[in-house]
C-alpha cells in the first residue's frame, strides 16, 4: 500500500479553501445571471422574422456552442484581448467567457420553451387587446420559462463544474486553490478529494434548489 492519508493539511487550509469556494460561487453566479439575460435576448432574436437578425443570432449560437470552453478561455484571454488591446483581468475574462458561451446554450433552451407554447395562447391574448409585447411578456414567457426550468437547472450545474476551467487563467477559485495547496503540502489526493466532494455537494444543493423552484412554478 502507498502513503498514509492525512487530512490535517486540508483542515489547516480551511480558510484558503473557503475563499476558493467563494470565488467559484461568485464566478458561477455572476456569469449565470448575465447569461440568463443575454441568452434570453439571443433566444428571442432567433425567433425574429427579419432574416439578417435571425441569422446573426443563429451564428452566435452555432459558433459559441461549438467552441470548446478551454480553447475559448485561452483564446479570449491571451489572444483576443491582446489583439484588440483590451485589458481584462483574469476574473473578468473568466466571467465573460463563461457567460458568452452559456448564453448560446440558454438561447436554445429559451427558444425551445417559447416555441412549445401553442400559438392559440398568443391569439387569446391579442384577442383581449393586449399588444404583441404584452402577450409575450405576460402569457408566453412565463409558460416558456416553466418549460425551460429543468434544462436551465441542468446548465447551472454544468456552469458550476465548468468554472473549474478558469483556474487556468490564474483565478483563485476552488480548483486552483486546491491544486496550489496540494502542491504546497504534496498531498494531492486529500486536497483534490476534498474539492471533488465540495463540487458534488454544491451540485446536489443546486439540484435541490431547482427542484424546489420547479415545484413552486407548477401549474
Amino acid at each position: 500500500m502507498g502513503i498514509q492519508l492525512d487530512f490535517g493539511p486540508v483542515i489547516d487550509s480551511a480558510s484558503f479553501i473557503a475563499q476558493g469556494l467563494g470565488m467559484t460561487l461568485y464566478v458561477t453566479i455572476v456569469a449565470m445571471a448575465l447569461a440568463l439575460t443575454l441568452g434570453l435576448v439571443v433566444g428571442m432574436l432567433r425567433l425574429v422574422k427579419f432574416v439578417p437578425i435571425r441569422m446573426m443570432a443563429t451564428i452566435y449560437v452555432d459558433f459559441f456552442r461549438g467552441l470548446p470552453q478551454l480553447a475559448f478561455l485561452i483564446w479570449l484571454y491571451f489572444g483576443i484581448t491582446l489583439a484588440l488591446g483590451i485589458h481584462l483581468s483574469p476574473l473578468q475574462a473568466a466571467i465573460a467567457c463563461l457567460c458568452i458561451q452559456e448564453a448560446a446554450c440558454l438561447a436554445e433552451i429559451y427558444r425551445a420553451g417559447i416555441e412549445a407554447i401553442p400559438k392559440e395562447q398568443t391569439q387569446a391574448a391579442l384577442s383581449l387587446g393586449l399588444t404583441p409585447v404584452q402577450a409575450f411578456k405576460d402569457v408566453v414567457l412565463p409558460q416558456a420559462l416553466r418549460i425551460a426550468m429543468p434544462a436551465i437547472g441542468n446548465d447551472f450545474i454544468g456552469m458550476l463544474k465548468g468554472s473549474s476551467l478558469v483556474s487556468i487563467l490564474g483565478v483563485w477559485e476552488l480548483m486552483r486553490v486546491s491544486q496550489g495547496r496540494a502542491n504546497y503540502f504534496f498531498r494531492p489526493f486529500e486536497f483534490l478529494t476534498t474539492a471533488a466532494i465540495i463540487y458534488i455537494v454544491l451540485a446536489l444543493g443546486l439540484e435541490r434548489a431547482f427542484a424546489f423552484v420547479e415545484k413552486r412554478f407548477k401549474f
Binding site: 391579442l126 409558460q143 401549474f219
Partner: protein, 255 residues
Amino acid sequence: MGQEILRLVDIHKSFGHLHVLKGVNLTVERGEVVVIIGPSGKGKSTLLKCINLIEVPEAGQVVFLGKDYMQNAKQRGVSLRANPDLRFLRTHIGIVFQQFNLFPHKSALHNVMLAPMRVLGMSKQEAKEKSLEALERIGLLDKIDAFPSTLSGGQQQRVAIARALVMQPQLMLFDEVTSALDPELVGEVVEEIERLADSGMTMIVVTHEMGFAKECGDRMIFMDEGVIVEEATPEEMLRDPKEPRTKEFLRRILI
C-alpha cells in the same frame, strides 16, 4: 335593432394554396344573434378570427362601428399587428374559443384580471373587483383561485366567457365553444350564452347546438367551401332548407 355594428365585405383569406374564405359578405346589427353552421374545416373559425383581425384577410373590408379596419391598416402602411387602432377593435369584440385557451399559468381570477389591467389600464384593485363581478355572474366565485388545469371543461369555458365579458365588448364571437366539452358539460355553457343573448348582447355564434340556435338565433347562416350558401331564420332553415348542400348537411347532423 337596426343599427349596423359589423359589416364584412368580400372577405378573402388563404393559408398557402388553401383558399379558405372566398368572398364572405355579412352584416350584423346591434342586438342580433347570428348563428353560423356548416361542415368542419370550411372557414367558420377563420371567419371569426378575421373579424377581430387575429387572422388578416388578403382582401375585403372589416367595418366595425362604421370604420373599416382593413382600409385603416393599408393607409397607415404598417402591419396590422403593430397598428394601435386594432386595440379598439379587439377590446370591443370578445371572442371565446373552442379549446378555451385560458392561460394555464394564471388562476381563474388572474385570467380575467389580465386584460382589464393591461389594456384598460385599471388598477389591480379595480380590475379585481370587475373580475370578481364577472366570475360571480357565471357562478364561479368559489373557483377564483383555481388554476385552469384543475377546472372541468365547462368551468374553463365559463371562465373564458367571463374573461371576454369583463372587457364589456359590444360584439361577442363564439367559436364552437361546446365542441370540446363532454356532453354533460355542454348545458352549463349553453345556458351562459343563452343568458347573454337574452341580455341583448350582439353575437355571432358558430355552433352545432341546434337547440340553442333555434332558441336564441335571429338569423342562421350556412357556410360551406368558404362562402355563405344560405341565410334564413333558424326555424325556416331547419324546417325548409333551400339549397341542396344545406339539406345534405342538416340531414347528416340532425339524425
